[in-house]
Structures are given as C-alpha cells and as structure tokens.
C-alpha cells in the first residue's frame, strides 16, 4: 500500500537514515561531553567521536581529515569560504566570479561582498545549464581573487566542469570554491586530484541531520581564509563554537554510509529516474530542463507547456515535489535558475523538480507517473492555450487582451 503523499523532493532534504539516527543518540544522552574539554574522559571520548567523523567525511571526498572544518551547514560553509577568501586576499584584488545559477547561499554572499566594495561577475550558462569555459576565461581579470562554482545544481542537477575550471584557477593563482551540497553521495569526489581549494558540504542532503555541515580547506597548496565567527578558537581558529558531537557523529555516519552504498545506490536511482522520464514522455509538449548527460542521477526537471504552475501543483498534490513557480515558495519570481536557461516565465512556472533518493520505490515512481498524466491531461482539457496550440495557432502571434 502506497503512503501518500509520495516524497520526491530529496534535493530539498533527505530523511535521516535510521542507522545514522541510531549512531547519534548515545552522543546526546550518555556521552554528552564537550569535545573541547581536555581535562576528563567525557571530553576525550567526545573528541575521539568528532575526529572519527572527520575521517569519515574526509574519506568520502578524498581529503585529509585535517582539511575538514565543521560548520552549521553548507550555507555557513559558503559564507566562510567566499567571504573568508575574499577578505584574506583583498589586498591582492577585489573581483569575484560566480554563476547565475548558483544557490542563494553563494549569490547572496557575493552580493554582500559587492556591498562592501568588491566587484563581481555572474556568469551566464548555456541552454543546458552548463558553463561555457570560454565565457569563464573571458571573465577572468588580473584582480580576480575568488571563483565559486557549484558541483551539482540544486534545481536541474547538472554537473559543472569543476576540474577544468579548477585547473584554470590554479594556473592563475585564484582561490576556487565549490559548493558540493547537492553532490555528496551522488558524484565521485576526489579532492586529492581535483584542483579545488575550498568545498562546502551539508549533512542533510545525504541522509544526515540538519544543522551540520563542513568546509574543506586545502592544505597543499594551502588555502587561506579569514574566520567569520570568532570565539573559543575551535576548528583551528577558523570556526569557533562548541562542536555539536551528536550532529557531527551523524554527518560522519551518513557520509560513511554514502561511501559504502554509492556503487549500488546510484544505478538503482538512475534506473528509477529514467523510468520516471520514460513514463512521462508519453505526455505531449514537455521539455526536460538541464543537460541529461552531465547530471546527477537523482534529478529530473521538466516543464509542462500550456498548463499553469499553481494549478499543476494542485493537480499533483499526492506527490511532494518542488516547483519552478512562485506560488509554492516565498519569492514571487519564477525560478531564476530556469530563467537563466532561457525559459520564459510561463514555462518556468509550470516546471517541476523531481528528486529521487535512497527510499524511493518503483511503485512510488509509477504512481507519480499516473498522477502526472492525469493531472496534466485534466488541465490541458481545460486549457484554451492547449486548444489553440492543437488547432495549429502560434500563441506568440496572438494579440492578448491586456489586463
């Protein structure tokens, strides 16, 4: 028996894996010590747990445990990385480069630096959501100090050419930050090889708890950043604040599980995602947003033409998904990511992001396909635009009565 609504919003957050929750509990009740307490066993055991978790996180991404700094999540990691590097190098230059399709945690951080007097370039992407390397090269300036590009996009799941961008940054001595919140457990990451200086991670996108994340800070060659939160000098002075042992243990366990299960999990999720796409491909006039080849296997983002976004969400209320429409989010604008791909407002509004995960089943995907077919079918039967399109009328030539 299917439990409704069906959760297909794993890029918003994931459930904590039961094994992760189990691992966390003792660190709340029995082993409650402060990892910074050096004078007794309560502190020592907590510190050991924190260091074990640091190794687990480092192992998933091919880093040295000493390169992992705990934060409250990817948003804080992005802030620490970008502000920290921009401030540290501000004598050298005050120009930053990022991309229009980045997460708000990066875009708003860069905007804040602009208010402080830094200059920024926001790169356009191609229709498929990927950066054109020539466009990137052309944006570089002698005073460029920091570049921030995400690994996997949260809305359309596309994977940016991080290795190539990193190589260019390395050659020019520019600090390269990568937001990998949506990539851990979904893409192989090997920081021993990747030319990346700073990388942001989140636990709750990878079956860990909310409220914990990490920043990778490269040791060789050493990435230099200024701390943004000051206090007791925790985390080598880069991020003060008492470490939440249970959260850290949770993130460590989640990343350990990801490392162990990735090889089996990714093909399974990819097959489900492709099954979903095959199922809805029988619906006319749909477009998949974002490159399908360079994409995490969990993500599908589709626009349904000739139906309006808010009514579409009503029609598919049995499936929990994210919409490119204003009506389901706090902002009034349609998705800026989809608009950066060149979609017009109407199509952006009638777009849906499906993100699958560890606990998604074939039955759930089949049900979602049914719901979509019925919902889109019903709304198109009601849609004068669909009727006109079927009659061969080009809607762009219609003179609409303004209101």
């Amino acid at each position: 028996m299917l439990k409704l609504p069906i959760y297909l919003d794993y890029s918003a957050t994931t459930p904590v894996d039961p094994a992760v929750a189990q691992a966390m509990i003792p660190w709340l009740t029995e082993h409650f010590g402060n990892p910074a307490s050096r004078s007794h066993a309560f502190g020592w055991e907590a510190e050991a747990a924190v260091e074990k978790a640091r190794e687990q996180v480092a192992a998933l991404v091919g880093a040295d445990p000493r390169e992992i700094i705990w934060t409250s999540g990817a948003t804080e990691s992005d802030n620490l990385a970008i502000k920290g590097a921009a401030h540290f190098h501000q004598e050298k230059g005050r120009h930053l480069i990022t991309v229009k399709t980045e997460h708000k945690a990066v875009l708003d951080t860069v905007r804040e630096l602009e208010r402080e007097g830094f200059e920024a370039t926001y790169l356009d992407v191609q229709k498929n959501g990927l950066i054109n390397l020539d466009v990137f090269r052309a944006a570089l300036r002698p005073d460029t100090t920091v570049v921030s590009v995400m690994l996997a996009n949260n809305e359309i799941g596309v994977i940016q050419p991080i290795e190539e961008i990193g190589a260019i940054c390395r050659e020019k001595g520019i600090v390269f930050h990568v937001d990998a919140a949506q990539a851990t457990g979904k893409v192989d990451i090997n920081l021993a090889k990747l030319p990346v200086d700073l990388m942001s991670f989140s636990a709750h996108k990878t079956y860990g708890p909310k409220g914990i994340g990490a920043l990778y800070v490269r040791r060789k060659p050493r990435a230099r950043i200024e701390a943004q939160i000051h206090g007791g000098g925790h985390e080598r002075g880069l991020r003060s604040g008492t470490l939440p042992t249970h959260q850290i243990v949770g993130m460590g366990e989640a990343f350990r599980l990801a490392r162990e299960t990735m090889a089996d999990e990714l093909p399974r999720i990819r097959a489900l995602r492709d099954h979903l796409l095959a199922g809805i491909s029988s619906i006319d006039a749909i477009t998949v947003n974002g490159d399908m080849a360079h994409r995490i296997p969990h993500n599908l983002n589709v626009s349904f033409a000739y139906v309006e976004g808010e009514s579409l969400m009503m029609a598919i209320k049995d499936i929990a998904v994210s919409s490119g429409s204003a009506c389901t989010s706090a902002s009034l604008e349609p998705s800026y990511v989809l608009r950066a791909l060149g979609l017009d407002d109407e199509l952006a509004h009638s777009s849906i992001r499906f993100t699958l995960g560890r606990f998604t089943t074939l039955d759930e995907v089949n049900h979602a396909v049914d719901v979509l077919r019925r919902g889109v079918g019903k709304l198109r039967d009601l849609s004068p635009l669909w009727e006109m399109a079927q009659a061969g009328i080009d809607l762009n030539t219609v003179q609409w009565a303004a209101h």
Partner: protein, 128 residues
C-alpha cells in the same frame, strides 16, 4: 495557498468545461487575459432566439481560483438575458468563492470574460 471548499469543488468538478463550435447558431466567445500574466479565460455563451443565454462553456489556463471563477460564471449566466449577465460583478464572484485578496484578479477576469462574450455576440448580430 489554501483554497476555500467552493474553489476546490469547482476545481475538482468544473461545470460546463469545454467548447462550442464557433459556427454554431447563437454562439459568441470572449477571451481575456494573457499567458504572461498567468491566466487566460475563454467564455462562450449560446444565446437563444429570445435573447436569453441558454448554455455556456469555459476553458481556463490559470490557477485554481481562475478555474473556479470561470466555472462559476458559466452557471450564473445561464438563463439570463445579455443585459442581466452584464450585471454580474467581480465582487459577487469573489464573495461566493471566498477568494483571498491576492486572487481577486481572477474574479475581475471572469467579469471581463462575460463582457467580452456579450460584446462578441452583439458585434456578430449587429447590436450595439
């Protein structure tokens, strides 16, 4: 967005959804709104020889409130003369459906759709 039960009822069970053939005797069409604004309503009326609206159809691209507003007016215009139909005001539609302030424009559009359909009928039949 939370919808009133009446909006949900019209959305789940739209009344008089569909189209009449343009060539059918006594049929007139009003189309209002624009895709870029998020709503397009098409309201059709079928007027009898006695000048009374015998039947109506709608198709709407828009949110649940827009669909409900147009579904509701197809019920309301039936049995009315053209002049009577023009007395239907957006405030009545909004009140009947308990539309929240951000959705008042849906009721305005429904009122506009009635006027557009009536205008179309009068134009076709040489009335003023």
């Amino acid at each position: 967005m939370t919808y009133s039960n009446k909006v949900l009822d019209h959305y789940e069970n739209p009344r008089n959804a569909g189209s009449f053939s343009q060539d059918e005797e006594g049929v007139a069409t009003g189309m209002v709104g624009a895709p870029a604004c998020g709503d397009v309503m098409k309201l059709q009326i079928k007027v009898g020889k006695n000048g009374v609206i015998e039947d109506a159809r709608f198709k709407t691209y828009g949110c649940g409130s827009a669909i409900a507003s147009s579904s509701l007016v197809t019920e309301w215009v039936k049995g009315k003369t053209l002049d009577e139909a023009l007395t239907i005001k957006n405030a009545q539609i909004a009140e009947e459906l308990a539309l929240p302030p951000v959705k008042i424009h849906c009721s305005v559009l429904a009122e506009d759709a009635i006027r557009a359909a009536v205008d179309d009928y009068r134009k076709k039949h040489g009335e003023k």
